[in-house]
Symmetry: C2
Subunit: 173 residues, 2 copies
């Protein structure tokens, strides 16, 4: 049932992921789904936890630019192929009214950005991590989700170079 919820969430979005739909996909009765997860947010919590578990971290090689490129490409692919964009949008829409949805938003965002944050933490001074993370993740998000355009490898290289320009400037590279 959790696997079915996760699949439905990624394929159909929050709005279409109902107890009845999960029951249909998993081959259980609707009453059983309600027995385990009384509310929709309960169901989403476990589904999103599963989705987060399944997320794999790309390997880091030690080169800041290359590792960032790999991690950002993974984020871009997750956003477009895995339909994270719609999922994230559904969670954000409900986060305004619902503390549970707010927690899910934080969890999803953290999972999606863990790889990139790890690379930045390893390669930059602590003060540089958060703004660089926001700029890199934000640029990919804007391209994929808000402009609805493909995130090319060239685009990723470009925003990495721009983001690291000041860091490398002050570090004397």
């Amino acid at each position: 049932m959790i696997a079915a919820s996760a699949a439905s969430l990624l394929e159909e979005g929050w709005g279409a992921t109902t107890h009845a739909e999960v029951a249909r996909r998993a081959g259980y009765s609707k009453a059983t789904v309600y027995a385990h997860w009384p509310t929709t947010v309960d169901l989403m919590r476990d589904a999103i936890a599963r989705i987060c578990e399944d997320a794999t971290l790309p390997p880091a090689g030690g080169n800041l630019h290359e590792d960032l490129h790999v991690a950002l490409s993974a984020l871009a692919q997750t956003l477009s192929e895995g339909r994270y964009d719609r999922l994230m949008a559904g969670v954000i829409e409900r986060a305004a009214q619902d503390q549970g949805a707010r927690d899910l938003r934080d969890r999803l965002y953290e999972t999606a950005t863990t790889g990139i944050r790890g690379v930045l933490t390893a390669g930059l001074r602590p003060d540089d991590v958060e703004p660089c993370l926001a700029m890199l993740v934000g640029a990919v998000l804007v391209r994929a989700t808000y402009e609805g355009e493909a995130v090319t490898s060239e685009f990723i290289t470009d925003i990495i170079d721009r983001t690291l320009a000041r860091v490398e400037l002050t570090a004397g590279h």
Copy 2:
């Protein structure tokens, strides 16, 4: 009725903005609202057009850093106070299935970023505009919408300096 739709959209989000709710707010009967806008997307189109009309452009003074700061602050405020975040999320969630919603997403994104794009176009070479726009807007979006944190003036100054670092480096500033 359009004003009521726009207000409901900003205050309650897409999901709660129904024909019945618009009729209640505007003091008309539900049948009248249906007569003018047969589908929800029809209603949203006019409501979002009104919201976009009401958006005002901050004045530009000619200083790139300062003008960007003003425009990005306006975006940050719009996102948090005006509930653009939830509105945008609602549109994105439906954009996956609906061409009409996709058009609305583009229109909203364009309106929200027009001021910043204008400042960048005036101050940078054409090739620099799109990536810098994505980084700046993305960073603010990530802060306000995805991390759910306040976008401070210091944060905005910081991301502007970082984004423009390479541009000013190659320009020989």
